[in-house]
């Protein structure tokens, strides 16, 4: 068993990155996630593992530093919160287009605009459908505990490299600011130059030896025929990600109703299940852990057995569209949410279940 600590979700992200053998972090302060970079700066991993940590001049610069670092075959990451992530949209689209692996952390706050720094899940569409231009997809992980903040850093990097695709951890101030027990991962060494050459020497710009042709990281292709092939390849890649889909089912064996919720709201739903079951309502929870790939088939199978589904989100109703599409409108699917930084209470959720689904 690894080291057991009581830590904030944000701090864990930093610690997990060092332990995952990350090569670089590039970021810009923004509440509620500045602790990630601050923790790294205190930890000084450059003295320990050689990891580079740099405060960039902006989120635009951060994401382009990530692009540059990822092109070296290095494990690089950035973190920000909603407005900062919006500034990264061009860069993220470039990274996806150039098929580079990297990790992006979004500790979401309420929008639109400057909005509020309180927790929110209103960046679901941006993360899952692609807030930047063009057809691309991110691998999106939605941790719901401090432990998963740790786990998803390593997982995010692994999936990013497996698919040569950016991965994004979609979390919020609840998980980021909260302390819970966490078993930290063991240290994984950073890859050596030789290992990088061996693993990524066919695409990374690491210096062109005489015996191979150039490695060029680019998303540009002016010939439509070739560009279409690149798009086709991406589409197939995204479809293939289904093999790494992750989700969790809680108390669904005997359930007649289902909550679908991710991240922090899935925690509140667990409490709501306790309350509802105390009243005799058989409700369970389906929690997508990967928001992309989305557990469409699994939710379809489970969901179509239910009398009704309530999607609970801290936004105005985003994932609910994917839930409806998954169950192919065969079961009533409704949405309940609070927003603007308000966290729904477990009781409200139970009430919504009663009004919108059971009584509706």
């Amino acid at each position: 068993m690894g080291e057991l600590r009581l830590m904030k979700g944000n701090e864990v992200i930093a610690e997990a990155a060092i332990r995952a053998g990350a090569d670089g972090y590039f970021g810009y302060p923004i509440t509620p996630q500045s602790e990630i970079m601050e923790t790294l700066m205190v930890r000084k991993p450059w003295e320990e593992t050689g990891m580079v940590v740099l405060q960039a001049e902006s989120e635009v610069a951060s994401i382009n530093m990530v692009y540059g670092g990822a092109g070296c075959g290095k494990k690089v990451m950035t973190s920000s919160s909603s407005p900062g992530v919006s500034l990264m949209m061009e860069g993220i689209s470039y990274i996806a287009g150039a098929e580079l692996p990297c990790l992006i952390v979004n500790i979401v706050r309420g929008g639109p605009g400057l909005g509020t720094i309180q927790p929110s899940q209103a960046d679901y569409f941006q993360s899952v459908k692609g807030g930047g231009h063009g057809d691309y997809r991110l691998i999106v992980l939605a941790p719901n505990s401090v432990q998963e903040m740790n786990d998803h850093v390593g997982l995010g990097f692994d999936l990013a490299f497996k698919y040569r695709n950016p991965a994004l951890i979609l979390s919020d101030g609840v998980i980021g600011q909260m302390m819970e027990k966490v078993e930290l991962s063991d240290y994984k060494p950073r890859l050596t130059e030789e290992e990088i050459i061996e693993k990524y020497g066919d695409w990374a710009h690491i210096g062109k030896p005489a015996n191979r042709s150039q490695n060029v990281v680019t998303s540009l292709e002016l010939q439509s025929e070739i560009m279409e092939k690149r798009n086709q390849h991406l589409i197939e890649k995204y479809a293939s990600m289904q093999e790494d889909v992750m989700y969790e089912e809680i108390m669904t064996e005997d359930a007649e109703y289902l909550f679908v919720a991710f991240g922090s709201s899935s925690r509140i739903c667990q409490k709501a299940i306790e309350l509802a079951r105390a009243e005799g309502i058989k409700v369970g929870l389906f929690r997508p852990i990967t928001l992309f790939p989305f557990a469409t088939n699994q939710l379809k199978e489970l969901g179509q057995k239910m009398k009704g589904i309530l999607t609970v989100e801290m936004n105005a109703g985003q994932m609910v569209e994917d839930v409806k599409l998954a169950v192919e409108c065969k079961v009533p699917v409704e949405w309940f949410g609070r927003f603007g930084g308000i966290i729904p209470s477990p009781q409200e959720i139970v009430d919504a279940l009663k009004h919108k689904i059971i009584g509706g």
């Binding site: 740099l54 610069a61 540059g68 210096g207 062109k208 540009l220």
Partner: protein, 270 residues
């Protein structure tokens, strides 16, 4: 005059100049006479001469030189518009033993990418920046750049740049020279053989600086864009000499080798 047949001159042993092998055989997509071609060649020659082809990573911009990777036979990253300095920063910090340079146009470097170049230079990233100032947006069809001269007509200033409407032309080289992170800042050109030689020397010096870990070297090359300017290449060079050089005077703006200590102290004293 000694009579000798051309065939006897054109012989391997008499070769004095040929295209460097660090340039690929791809035909450049540039318009006839475009300065980009000359500067590409110089960068390639310096890489060849220093024997650093296997250790050099180029960062190409969005601009006509976006395809620089098709011509210089090294590993490359193509950066988003204006962000090459951020991309290069990461590459160099993650692989400090490599040589890293950005190659950027004036729209890319001075307009959309002003923050990134300023901060990379300010941090003193140990990279080389090649800045092709042709006073116009070549790639997108000849729109006004931050460096477009007053009175110069472009697609977005058809009656010539007017200060009250569009502001002044910017001198990025003078600005970055004031930053303590830069070690060598110079403005050169490639319109004639002597200028080409000087520019090559500057590029060489910049890469040597990087080897010695001195910080950012910044080389502006005052360039032509005959398509954007709507004149032929020869006329473009003449126009540049007459109009660009007075506003963008050639020469070194800063060379820390000459007096690094004084420079630093001056900055820290304010």
């Amino acid at each position: 005059m000694a009579d000798i047949d051309i065939k006897d001159i054109i012989r391997e042993e008499n070769l004095v100049y040929k295209k460097t092998d660090v340039l690929t055989d791809n035909v450049m997509h540039y318009c006839p006479g475009c300065s980009h071609g000359v500067v590409h060649k110089l960068v390639a020659e310096v890489i060849e001469e220093m024997g650093i082809q296997e250790q050099t990573i180029g960062v190409s911009p969005v601009g006509c030189s976006v395809f620089a990777y098709n011509y210089i036979d090294i590993d490359w990253s193509e950066a988003a518009h204006g962000r090459a300095p951020a991309v290069a920063t990461a590459i160099k910090r993650l692989m400090p033993e490599k040589f890293v340079f950005t190659y950027q146009g004036d729209g890319d470097l001075a307009s959309i990418g002003a923050a990134e170049i300023l901060h990379a230079c300010n941090r003193g990233e140990n990279i080389v920046v090649i800045f092709i100032n042709n006073a116009i947006y070549g790639m997108t069809g000849g729109q006004m750049a931050p460096t477009t001269l007053v009175g110069m007509p472009t697609a977005t200033s058809p009656y010539g740049r007017q200060i009250d409407l569009h502001g002044y032309p910017m001198k990025m080289t003078e600005i970055v020279a004031t930053l303590p992170g830069t070690c060598f800042v110079t403005r050169q050109s490639v319109e004639k053989a002597a200028a080409v030689r000087k520019t090559k020397k500057a590029i060489r010096k910049a890469f040597e600086n990087q080897k010695a870990g001195k910080g950012t070297s910044f080389i502006e090359v005052v360039s032509t864009c005959s398509s954007g300017w709507k004149v032929n290449p020869v006329k473009a060079n003449e126009w540049m000499t007459e109009h660009m050089f007075p506003f963008y005077p050639l020469g070194d703006k800063k060379d820390c080798e000459k007096d690094p200590a004084e420079d630093y102290e001056k900055y820290m004293k304010g």
